[in-house]
Amino acid sequence: MSKTIEIKPTTRHEGHTNLVLTVDDEGIVESGAYHSVTPVRGFEKFLCGKVAEFVPIAVSRFCGICPTAHATSAVEALERACGMEPTKDGLILRELTTIGNKMHSHPLHQFLIAPDYVPKDDYPEVVKRVQAMRKIGQYLVDTIGGEAIHPPNIKIGGMAKNITPEAKEKLIARAKEYFELATVQCDYMMNIFNEGKLNDGTEIPKTLGYHDFPLLATDLTYGNLSKFDYSQAVEYSPFEEYPKEIALVACTNIPKYKGSLVEVGPRARMVTFKDFKETKGALGIHKARALEMAHYAERALELLDELNTSGAPYCTDPVAGDGETVGVGAIEAARGHNVHSAIVGRDGRVVEYNAIVATTWNIPVIGRATVGHHYKFAEHVVRAYDPCVSCATHMIVKDYDGNTVGGKIFK
């Protein structure tokens, strides 16, 4: 006789989500439904008719953790819709900003999982290291992007400002410091993950979080549209994935790529670009994330070396589209493949806008990945994906009286 277990809300990640599991008599999960209950905010709707320059400013407000990824995806999409070519140094600065953002977001996740994995005695040391790393990541975004949270310098055509040679030297010094911290942190976390135990001694099943869905990533650090075919990405309604009673409250679309659910994120990137062997499992994601941190610092150093501080940060082409061309921007955010698409009219205003963000891809996969193990491990599967839900929310939700929540936005 199966019964239902509900975790409401799931904790230690961004946004509001529920996990509904059906389990058998022994507590083994038979089916899992992980779904967002963060109310819809209607960004894609209210952006229509606004001037294109406003879009990166608006979409960076999707979230305070990865505003950079959204703003960058947006400007990439808008540039393609307008047929603009950003400047070389603008692109370098932009990639540096997105890397800085990931350099802060990845350690933040290790802080969130620390109560699960890190022994109590090591806790202060790990948290201090994590904070030191986050500070450097945010410093990068702050210096290049103009603000650590919601960086205003990301603009269509490149970046609003270049940095001074002195600032570049400082960033190089910080990136080197980050590399050392990341190496120590990575070794420490890898030992824990290789042991495969929680800090209370519970052994994590080797096959926890296994699933057979393909992985999707376009680049290790930035994003490469040539590796992604937007016409193959289709969004379905939640009824496609969830039982009716859950689909009614779920706030995300179900995107499929080439007809299948896909996993995005650190493991997808590491498997695709770095010959990472562990292609499955919750611990695999943790390991990939730990390994990625040092790669970011390395890439940041490469980019800083390449950067010409007196180069033009942005191109001055007019921001106007043809009202038909769909521009797509695909960026690897901290949590994975993040796609924005836009059509811009001849008057420079947005005609249509859509975002399929990283966690939207992962949400249906997370529920499926909990199947086959005891339900007490389910939250560890959820946390491994580091879901960040407020940006993923898309569907209209009705309240108990049948009224549309936030209906005013759509009128």
Binding site: D142, T143, G146, A148, I163, T164, E166, A167, L171
Partner: protein
């Protein structure tokens, strides 16, 4: 009753010992000397100065070397939006100890920014020193342009330096000829309206405030207001950057003049504020 020139720890008369600074700077060269000393000794890593663009128009600039500071020294008598580049100094210049100089209203803005750092989270922690300069009133660029070009008959592009003192506006042309003067009375219509509701003459919220009033020609009166200002000043004095003399507290041209001017400004502007309140116009206080 509160002190007419605000809270302070110490007041002195001082001037820079460096002849190059003295030659180029306005009076005692205190701001320039402090900036150069700070930059050369690691107390500051960048300073915001009012540089001169074409046509004697002041523009804010971030200076990081002695040469850059020296090329910008001297009072401009026109509005220079120094606060507008504070954020740039901390962001794309990645400076950590920024020196700031400004008129009392700009110092008030800086202090407000530091008290309520909503949009300046990372910025306010990186301010190293705030120097205020005495200010009775200021002119918008077009105001000073009219005065210089119409009243003093000197083209703006030919101006070397301007100065106000002894009831006159002095305009020094670049060709080295004698200064042309305009009586202060004639300049009044060209003042900024906002200056008429300002209740701060001596930059009461700065770390250090300085200006010529109260000291003999070529010297500046330095008001050290807080610990940060005192520490900085002590280091400068120990390094022999400034020569000092006690401030003249007795004679008419000494401290009493500073106090009198400050009182006058406050009394005059308090009346203007009252008048504006009566008329239902907005006032900043």
């Amino acid at each position: 009753m509160t002190n007419p020139i605000g809270e302070y720890i110490e007041m002195i008369s001082a001037r820079a010992t460096d002849p190059e600074i003295l030659k180029k700077a306005q009076d005692g060269g205190i701001v320039t000397a402090a900036y150069v000393y700070g930059l050369e000794n690691g107390l500051l890593d960048g300073v915001i100065v009012a540089d001169t663009a074409e046509g004697f128009k002041p523009v804010p600039k971030i200076a990081r070397t002695r040469e850059e500071v020296l090329s910008a020294c001297g009072t401009k008598y026109s509005v220079c939006p120094n606060v507008s580049v504070v954020k740039n100094a901390v962001k794309e210049y990645a400076l950590e100890k920024v020196g700031f100089v400004g008129t009392p209203c700009q110092i008030i803005a800086m202090k407000k920014m530091m008290q309520y750092p909503n949009a300046f989270r990372e910025t306010v922690g990186n301010i190293g020193l705030i120097i205020g300069i005495y200010c009775m009133e200021n002119f918008p660029y077009n105001g000073i342009k009219t005065l210089v070009e119409e009243y003093a008959s000197v083209q703006m592009s030919d101006v070397l330096k301007t100065d106000i003192g002894k009831g006159k506006l002095f305009v020094y042309p670049k060709d080295g000829s004698e200064a042309v003067t305009v009586p202060i009375k004639e300049t009044i219509p060209f003042e900024q309206k906002s200056c008429h509701v300002c209740m701060d003459y001596t930059a009461e919220l700065a770390d250090i405030a300085t200006g010529s009033v109260g000291s003999p020609d070529g010297w500046s009166t330095v008001v050290i207001r807080n610990k940060r200002g005192k520490d900085f000043m002590d280091k400068m004095l120990a390094a022999g950057i400034l020569e000092t003399r006690p401030l003249d507290m007795e004679s008419k041209g000494g401290y009493p003049l500073l106090e009198k001017l400050s009182d006058n400004k406050k009394a005059k502007n308090a009346k203007e504020i009252e008048r504006r309140i009566e008329m239902g116009l907005p006032v900043p206080y």
